[in-house]
Amino acid sequence: MANAEQNSEWEDFKAAARRPIEQHVRNSFIHTYKPVLDDAEYRSFDTMEEYRRWCKENLPDWLGYSRD
């Protein structure tokens, strides 16, 4: 299973390398609305710790921004 997954990733990487960079970027940057995170035009934090704490306290767990 692990080998099959790895082979599939390898094929993905090879295919990506064959695409023009414009197409590769178009395929890779996809806008998906993230609740809370995307609801403000601007946020800033004095430390990364403060940012992590804000993520933990404000973002839904399923977004994956928590360290737990």
């Binding site: 390898w10 990487f13 890779s28 940012y51």
Partner: protein, 157 residues
Amino acid sequence: MPTFEFKNAQELGRVFETHGVRYLFFGKSGAILLGYSDTTQDVDLYIEKRRENCERVAAGLLELGSRLTEQEQKEVRRGKAFIQLRNGPFDLDLIFAPDGVERFEDAWERRVERHGLPIANIEDIIGSKRAATRQRDRESLPRLLPFKFKNWLEKNK
């Protein structure tokens, strides 16, 4: 919000070069510009936190079309640790002190120039994700590591 396209990367590179900004494409967006195949939404830039450099970043962002208030411009000039921008031509995160990288200078020395853009070395991108230890970072590592190995093989064949 328009999606980030390669022409946006080129425009950012041109504007930041004109202003003399020292920065690196970082995180998953940096890996994608190195050829990594995965998806993301925003662009991460690792910015050198020298006062003059932060001032140049603010000027560059305005030229790129970011709608920064006076207060926000002040914060960019100050180089706060992390700034999330959703008020410009594409989603952008400015990182002045990423996890897992001690000094900008070291990451700059190890950078890769690709498509005329300065991009953090895949080792630094992976190292930062390892140090951040968020769920989303932990999940991306099993795929980033084979990509790093592929890069290594190509360099050493």
